[in-house]
Symmetry: C2
Subunit: 264 residues, 2 copies
């Protein structure tokens, strides 16, 4: 499995390797059992609207922590972290356009930056696996398939847009378990937003995901859709703030929080 | 029971009676089955810090809805509501001092006001009663006893302070049920913050609540403490914003949301 070498290393050690430039690739599979997080950095002037957006769209945008304005440290989910160095790859967007990728953002840091750390489905996938539910894209060594739906997020201030969902094919006799397992972790997207009929949420062709890779849906399986952490990034990009910095897809922030501590 | 006459009337009708000045007293017992909410109104310049405070203190400050800036309407928890008229009694605080009580705040309304509607324990009490768990202050026709603890809320920007808790005596053999019932409703304070020994959370004399009335603790019962909606008000007052408007204690905003819809 990808990154197996780093599975048993503690988050603080891996974060240091990332900050030191020893790890520059995707973090999937690192620090087994620990939650990984999406990152959105915005200037303070846009932070209120974004926090309101998150409050109104908790499934798409489950906030794990919001930094103090200007601070590169976190208070709760990771000790001695430096949000400007501890992610393998960052993306900078200016007025909604990608203007660069960086392995650290120390030189770009501003005193008015606020960091939003947002729950990631890596956490609930580990719980699904423990419960004996297959996670197809992991089996197939792919990225999860993601789709832009026609479900409007609830707008807030300058932020609005469609919900992005991820899809996992689930055997019919494990659908209920997939709901009850993910119900336990509202801070990593919680229960599915739809089960079964892609067209009902505006997905025209299940075989053509908007992001990620298509995976095999076997006979006897049904596609199940969860709100996806790409939603807040996509919505932020749509609204074209002067500047926004995010992690590059798959290059997550690794927290000190165990997945099991995200329950309830 | 208090307000029994209004128990079976729908929230929108009762809100109209309140707006018309026909009801000017406490709302406990009105609109059976519907959630009631605490209110904190702050100017936009203080709203970000308060929302961050709520994000960091979800048990004390479970937000049901945040209005759009300047809007007297709500989008989600009540239709055709006017937040400036639909509460029987408001309190205005200037720099942390109570400067007036009003039956409506139309004349005080400002375009930069943001309204925070916060979950209220009335909701979980109705679930406890349904589950056969006694709620002593209701039995005794009193206000719930509340205590200022030595538990620090997690500070956010200008807001900081101690957690306020409410106490309900629970028979030993129903303590587990009291936990599991309230676990289902994180949006109205969720699980208890402490069970059993008041001194461990800084309460010197259980017989002398800081707010509300003392209730009887029978032989075979243990005091159980929940985070209380008075916490955000108390914290806001401590931080002395230029202006803050709240409901007067017990004079709540009645929503269109059923208590059962607050579950998970």
């Amino acid at each position: 499995m990808f990154n197996q070498k780093y599975a048993e290393i503690k988050p603080w050690s891996v974060r240091k390797m990332i900050a030191d430039g020893e790890i520059t690739w995707q973090t999937s599979g690192m620090c087994s059992g620990y939650a990984q997080a999406n990152l959105v950095i915005l200037p303070q002037k846009d932070a209120y609207d974004f926090m309101l957006f998150a409050q109104r769209n908790p499934k798409s945008c489950p906030i794990l922590e919001v930094s103090d304005t200007g601070s590169r440290s976190l208070r709760f989910i990771a000790e001695n972290a430096d949000i400007a160095c501890d992610i393998p790859k960052y993306r900078v967007y200016e007025k909604g356009s990608l203007t660069g990728e960086y392995t650290d953002i120390e030189k770009l840091w501003r005193d008015d930056f606020v960091s939003f750390l947002i729950g990631c489905s890596f956490s609930f996938e580990s719980m699904m696996l423990e419960a004996g539910i297959p996670v197809r894209h992991i089996e197939e060594g792919k990225n999860v398939p993601m789709y832009i739906t026609d479900i409007d997020c609830v707008p807030a201030g300058k932020f609005s847009g469609k919900m992005v969902v991820s899809m996992r094919p689930i055997p019919y006799d494990q659908v209920v378990k997939a709901v009850t397992v993910t119900e336990q972790v509202p801070s990593v997207h919680g229960t599915p937003v739809h089960i079964g009929e892609p067209s009902l949420i505006g997905i025209k062709d299940i075989n053509k995901p908007d992001f990620g890779d298509m995976v095999t849906i076997n006979e006897g399986e049904i596609p199940v859709f969860w709100a996806c952490g790409v939603t807040p990034q996509s919505v932020v990009m749509n609204s074209k703030p002067d500047i926004a910095i995010t992690h590059a897809p798959g290059h997550m922030f690794i927290t000190d929080i165990k997945n099991t501590d995200l329950k309830g």
